[in-house]
Symmetry: C2
Subunit: 225 residues, 2 copies
């Protein structure tokens, strides 16, 4: 028991170390392979048994929410700075989107976070929501400047990032090309009437959470005998 009479039990040193090792391993693997990487493998890389991971975090979501938000927040801050170096509203908007996309392409964890592949991660959700809000202020400014098409709405960001995430899996840099096409289509001068309205808030919430089955698995021919 702690001497200070506090009721919260102080973590044992070994427990503390386990958590640190798990955290480090989780960051590595989430970044490399996405938020859906095998938990057993995280435990293995941490040099700890799977049981310990479950004892410490309980669920994958808890682990994600413990580890990813800091990372994500830091990266998204970088994007803000990057964006605000531009005085032109359109450039600010475009650079912000582009910078986030760049980071998504090299960090599967961020990519999964931004495309909202997991529920029950309140801290991470908050971080992402903040990033989307920020994006929206840039968007509004670009609209007011008459540069961004007027029918673009907040919920359309998910389209941008979803497309980017998908493109990033094709080849190292093509997503930049895909994004360029889209950005050209987002300029006010390029706008033609849209066939359908944006996601309503329910759909957006659903899309941001459920992520209805993004089709898994490498399509490589399976091992044959």
């Amino acid at each position: 028991m702690p001497t200070d009479g506090s009721t919260r039990p102080v973590l044992r040193r070994d427990a503390q170390r386990s958590i640190e090792k798990l955290t480090a391993a989780a960051i590595e693997l989430f970044t490399e392979r996405g938020l859906d990487c095998p938990l057993d493998e995280i435990a293995r890389r941490a040099g700890v048994s799977p049981g310990t991971l479950y004892h410490r975090f309980g669920t994958r979501e808890a682990l994600i929410d413990a580890v990813v938000p800091e990372l994500a927040a830091e990266q998204l801050d970088t994007a803000v700075q990057y964006a605000e170096a531009n005085s032109d509203p359109w450039e600010r908007f475009a650079r912000y989107v582009e910078k986030i996309s760049t980071m998504m392409a090299s960090d599967s964890a961020l990519s999964d976070a931004v495309t909202r592949r997991y529920d029950d991660t309140p801290r991470l959700s908050a971080v992402c929501t903040e990033a989307f809000d920020r994006a929206w202020t840039y968007a509004e400014q670009a609209q007011e400047a008459g540069q961004l098409r007027a029918d673009f709405v907040t919920g359309d960001f998910i389209l941008l990032f979803t497309a980017n995430a998908a493109h990033a899996r094709l080849a190292p840099d093509v997503w930049r090309r895909g994004l360029a096409f889209i950005l050209d289509g987002l300029r006010a001068s390029a706008a033609h009437p849209l066939p359908v309205g944006p996601l309503d808030s329910d759909q957006l919430a659903e899309a941001m959470h459920h992520t209805p089955e993004p089709h898994t698995g490498t399509a490589r021919a399976r091992t044959r005998r």
Copy 2:
């Protein structure tokens, strides 16, 4: 033995029926759930044991290549007719893409086929290649008419369809919105310089085949006790 002396053994009636049932079940499940649906489930729906499926087709790819090409060809033909009802080159191009996208949204098998999620399916590959070639003739015509941006190339179609497939998983009809944004960006009048070149042929081949890990799995919180 056949009486006509041919060496090719005629399939027994039950074998023939098994194949038909498997084919029908495969079409249903591929369409509903994509080309990566469990083979056991196809066998179950066909009212046949998994062993039979493997005996008849050997590999998932063989099954795909046996049943999907007809379906895909038929649908892609529909798209051609749909497109050619338009005399304006841009409309022809845009409608073709849009029609294929529509069908992809309601048919997971077609979606997987067009985004090339499987290797070792020569017949299916041929069908898709043909569709891409057709798309490219429409694209060229639209470029010659000065409507489609000049820096658009064949390999960019994969970007369109990949984005669509990803968007289609968000909500029933948003992909139309995403596609509209992109198409607006593809008009010659909207073109700004592109940051990177297109996929080279190797990358294209790789992207068309390997499909490097499209991130699987529903992200729903797992069942807890």
